[in-house]
């Protein structure tokens, strides 16, 4: 790796791209501090009024709580389903494994707008039977989000399973462990970090999901991204800038913590 380092041209170009990547995230900060009611750059004085809106306007808090609830439920569903599936693939190595995995990854590959229309069809059909998990209900959104996030959980779990030493499973089998015991006492403890990551990723993907959510909600199930969307579409509400800054800071904090954690682990 040391033989061929980037020269000055590569360094300049790479830095420009890095700046391009960070620029819109930084631009949100001054806009969030504007004292004006409209989207604008603050001229002179700064104000925290848009941050105050986040706390004082009940709609923001409600949507945050709703997104948390949907994120937790959908992450649970998709992690459990992805776990049993990946364990099945790893332990039994069925014929047509590649085909089965490919099938399961469909929602990740199909254009999001097609998935959105498909899930709109699903939830409106369910609505005619039960309103509680149909169109514009929080359970319906959680169901749709699990469809969208399950492929990502499967990919992560298959990757962490591929690093498990098959001999420990063989040993357990030789000692007479049942399938259930092999799964719960031998394999799962060995992939717990991957399992945690899969649950976290499913949660984050649901937390920020907007493409599908736009199609399957109207007035009741207003998640945080949906509320941000409403604040962006017509007259841009600078409160969106304030919530964006909060989300960016949270992301940076989590990534830094993760970075420190993995470095201290080795």
């Amino acid at each position: 790796m040391t033989s061929y380092r980037p020269g000055p041209v590569a360094l300049v170009l790479g830095t420009l791209v890095a700046l391009f990547l960070l620029m819109p995230l930084l631009a949100v900060v001054p806009v969030s501090l504007t004292p004006s009611r409209m989207l604008s750059m603050p001229s002179g004085e700064l104000s925290l009024r848009h941050y105050r809106t986040l706390i004082e306007d009940p709609r923001w808090l409600q949507s945050i709580l709703l997104s948390l609830r949907i994120g937790i439920v959908s992450s649970l569903i998709s992690t459990v389903l992805a776990l049993t599936f990946s364990l099945g693939i790893w332990m039994f190595r069925p014929r047509f494994s590649a085909l089965l995995v490919g099938f399961v990854l469909l929602p990740m590959v199909v254009p999001p707008v097609v998935s959105a229309l498909t899930l709109y069809f699903l939830l409106t059909s369910i609505s005619s039977v039960s309103k509680a998990i149909g169109y514009d209900s929080w359970l319906g959104v959680a169901l749709a989000h699990s469809v969208m996030t399950v492929p990502f959980a499967v990919v992560l779990l298959l990757v962490s399973l591929s690093q498990v030493d098959r001999r420990i499973d063989l040993a357990a089998r030789g000692l007479g462990a049942s399938v259930w015991e092999r799964a719960t006492k031998v394999i799962i403890p060995n992939i717990r970090f991957g399992l945690l990551t899969a649950a976290l990723l499913s949660f984050v993907l649901s937390w920020e999901e907007i493409g599908v959510t736009l199609f399957i909600t109207s007035v009741d199930a207003i998640t945080l991204p949906r509320l941000m969307w409403m604040g962006l579409r017509d007259n841009i509400n600078p409160a969106v800038a304030a919530i964006s800054v909060v989300l960016i800071l949270a992301t940076v904090a989590v990534l830094t913590a993760r970075g420190l954690l993995t470095r201290s682990k080795g």
């Binding site: 631009a27 750059m41 499967v154 800038a241």
Partner: protein, 276 residues
């Protein structure tokens, strides 16, 4: 449990997710495909509209044009930053990794909004240019195709970085050493050895970006301001604003077919293991 045969065991583990996705994804998709040939009346009328309606056609052409430009731009940018990420000094690597991962984890909505904050009439760039006296009227940087292209390129760069970086990591170090030993300059090594040897990553990245860009909805809707409509937004409009469910469904079916063809191409060009 102990007496389970392998076959029933496998079925028990695999069935829940397979059933879940069949019922919650495949069946409803078939329903959507059904709409495309039954609404408003049975037949393939919607598909002939797709082929003949000038509005629908202009949206498809615009979509392909934007996707092509975005693919070129984001793969080029991604190559530059991936090079620094893989080949740089440890400090350079840490900094570029931060710059790639932070935007990657931030939602598409926040990122599109960041571009609105930068590019809109009262945004950062126009305010600065005006206060410095370079321009008297704000430049139209957003609510047009330019804004859409910038926003989509920004969103897709990280997705292009991963396959490129993996191709660059898997490259045989000895070839570079040999090129150097034979007296090739840095630039010459880059263009005649490095780029050709990472070609599989370039093709993979380009296909992934193109496929993602094709179904893009949020960024064009926010940065295009309804003026630069792409296929995905047309589906939304035809579902909720000027309803024509059959057409929305037909467009979806066509999109799936295009993406399926591109994915087949991707798997033919690359061994899947090289993708991620």
């Amino acid at each position: 449990m102990q007496t389970l045969s392998n076959r029933t065991g496998a079925a028990l583990f695999l069935a829940p997710l397979l059933l879940f996705l069949s019922l919650a994804y495949v069946v409803p998709f078939l329903g959507v495909a059904g709409w495309s040939v039954t609404l408003p009346e049975p037949g393939i009328g919607q598909y002939s509209v797709l082929l003949s309606d000038p509005l629908v056609q202009s949206v498809f052409i615009r979509t392909f044009r934007i996707c092509a430009i975005v693919t070129l731009a984001s793969v080029t940018c991604a190559y530059a930053i991936a090079f620094l990420w893989v080949r740089g000094t440890p400090l350079q690597r840490r900094i570029t990794e931060f710059c790639i991962l932070v935007p990657f984890w931030i939602s598409v909505l926040t990122r599109a909004f960041g571009w609105v904050a930068l590019l809109s009439n009262r945004g950062l760039i126009n305010t600065w240019l005006q206060s410095l006296g370079f321009i008297s009227e704000p430049l139209a940087l957003v609510r047009n195709e330019f804004g859409v292209i910038v926003g989509m390129t920004h969103f897709l760069i990280p997705f292009a970085v991963f396959p490129l970086a993996s191709a660059m990591r898997n490259l045989d170090e000895r070839v570079l050493l040999a090129a150097r030993g034979l007296g090739a300059s840095r630039t010459r090594i880059f263009w005649t050895v490095f780029v050709p040897m990472t070609m599989s990553g370039i093709i993979g990245a380009a296909l992934i970006v193109f496929v993602f860009a094709l179904g893009f909805f949020v960024t064009p809707a926010i940065l295009g301001g309804g003026r630069s409509v792409m296929v995905a937004e047309l589906v939304y409009v035809r579902l909720f604003q000027s309803p024509d469910w059959g057409l929305a469904a037909a467009i979806s079916v066509v999109l799936v077919l295009i993406v399926g063809a591109l994915m087949a191409l991707l798997f033919r060009t690359l061994k899947p293991a090289q993708m991620v």
